[in-house]
Amino acid sequence: MSETITILQENLGQALWETFEMVVISGIIGVVLGTLLGLVLYYYSNPLFSPRAAVNNVVGFIINAVRSFPFLILMIVLIPFAKLVAGDPYTPMGGAVSLSVAAVPFFARIAESSFAEIDQGVIEAARSTGAGFFLIFSDVLFPEALPSLIRGIVLTIISLIGYSAMVGTIGAGGIGNLAIQFGYNRYETGVLISVIVILVIIVQIIQWIGDRLAVHYTRG
């Protein structure tokens, strides 16, 4: 028991920080680039904008291809790439690289469906004012899709926390690594249980905040 506490005292803060680093970096990259890709998919498939099946098919194919990789394999395949980008692949930064690569196509599909859910009539009304695409994006697509995007962000972050445990096992650190290193390999069941409890609490809090925000941005 006392050993469990010692291990947690020495490692938990560091591990939490590493997980936070990985999830935040890959989350931001995933949401920003994913939104852009989702917007590309939406723009080139909506008859009210610029339907171009070719662009849509190519982008869609790439997204599907990356998403077909089981994350464990994607992570290993991306080790050389992580090395190139982050220097050392076995750091939280290195881990964030493969997490980002997984997050972008994941969020792209979420963003695409969030935009596609918007009532086509509202887009038609916006088009008929003579507004250009950027104005329509900032004043129509974005506010109308926001609640759905927020729910998608929550989904992405929670998935990323899960995946971050996997990159932890190949040396990128984080709370998942703590559980494996001490809890599993050194039979410190107390550490394992503590990590699980912490994760459950974190996920609950994120989901709760996300739901509140989504409701807040659904007006009326």
Binding site: D119, E124, S128, T129, G130
Partner: protein
């Protein structure tokens, strides 16, 4: 040149297995300042046709010219420019749900290049025009259907358009609210001299609003006439169907069945203007020596002219009945005989 000119406009949708001819070779001219109606059943191609006017739908063949600009050949910026001067009102209002009423109108103003700083004042003016000044900070979900459509009108008027296109603008509203919207549109037309093109499948809208009207059926324009003439003297089968349903001069089947058993003939009389039928009926009844019973009657005012329909049943000697029918044909504008 008319303000809106459509020349041989056709719109064809190619789908994988089928080709849909939504609009077939439609030509029409709409003059500045008039209220032009397009009526027809749903699926007749009305919505597609009206969308060619602001380029939301490009015609497959034919030409669309609005205020001298060829919409079907316009590039992106010309089209955006033209759209600023063409307001559009929708059946389902199509407001941005997560933006306030003021922001919804502000969006259209920004799209039209209206300076940001002067927008609040303009938004107030527009909302005053439709009587919703106090709902600026509300979101669409907090408004009733009629109020949402008023916001739709205010938004459509944001950039001082020359033309207002209305796609079933009253069809999602109850009759009373629809009347309110129509009154607002009529008022806008009179005060601001904005041309209004109004599509509907509800003929009761036509009687108060339209100057001229076109009837569409299966993508084709089957009749083009004035609102009064449409009701008084419809020519095409589609127009007759629509008008008869509206004036409801068909007898209920139960009554028809009863009449079939008795000896006599049913006539449907239609009269225009203010002529009263009563002296004619008593006169003919006297001259021919028949009995005339009145089964149903109705008077409608279309563009402040009366149109009356009267369903009568004539009984008596066969000879006398024939004479009475002949007299009615002579003295009444429209006589239709029911074959029973």
């Amino acid at each position: 040149m008319s303000q809106i000119e459509l020349k041989n406009v056709s719109v064809t949708f190619e789908q994988k297995r089928t080709t849909i001819n939504a609009v077939k070779d439609v030509s029409l001219s709409i003059e500045k300042g008039e209220i032009f109606g397009i009526v027809g059943l749903s699926g007749a191609g009305k919505s597609t046709l009206v969308r060619t006017i602001n380029g939301l739908q490009q015609p497959t063949t034919g030409e669309v010219t609005v205020s001298g600009v060829e919409i079907n050949k316009a590039n992106k910026s010309q089209l955006a420019q033209a759209r600023k001067k063409i307001g559009f009102i929708f059946q389902n209002f199509n407001l941005i749900n997560n933006r306030t009423i003021a922001q919804n109108i502000g969006f259209a103003l920004t799209a039209g290049g209206y300076p940001e700083k002067q927008q609040p004042e303009k938004i107030d003016q527009l909302l005053a025009l439709v009587g919703l000044q106090d709902r600026k900070a509300n979101y669409p979900a907090q408004l009733s259907g009629g109020q949402k459509q008023r916001v739709g009108i205010a938004r459509a008027l944001a950039n001082d358009p020359d033309i207002l296109l209305c796609d079933e603008a009253t069809s999602a509203l109850d009759l009373e609210t629809a009347e309110e919207i129509i009154t607002i549109l009529k008022d806008i037309n009179e005060r601001l001299h904005i041309t209004i093109v109004f599509i509907t499948h509800q003929l009761e809208v036509a009687k108060n609003l339209f100057d001229r009207v076109a009837v569409m059926e299966n993508g084709e324009l089957v009749e083009q006439t004035t609102a009064y003439k449409l009701f008084a003297d419809p020519q095409s089968d589609m127009a007759k169907r629509l008008v008869n349903r509206f004036l409801d001069d068909e007898l209920p089947d139960e009554v028809r069945f009863k009449l079939r058993k008795s000896n006599g003939r049913f006539l449907s009389l239609k009269y225009h203007g203010d002529d009263s039928l009563d002296p004619v009926i008593t006169e003919i009844a006297g001259t021919a020596g028949v009995d005339i019973s009145i089964l149903q009657g109705r008077i409608e005012f279309i563009q402040s002219n009366a149109i009356g329909t009267l369903g009568i049943f004539i009984t008596g000697e066969p000879q006398a009945i024939n004479q009475a029918v002949r007299l009615f044909h002579e003295k009444v504008d429209g006589v239709e005989e029911d074959e029973q």
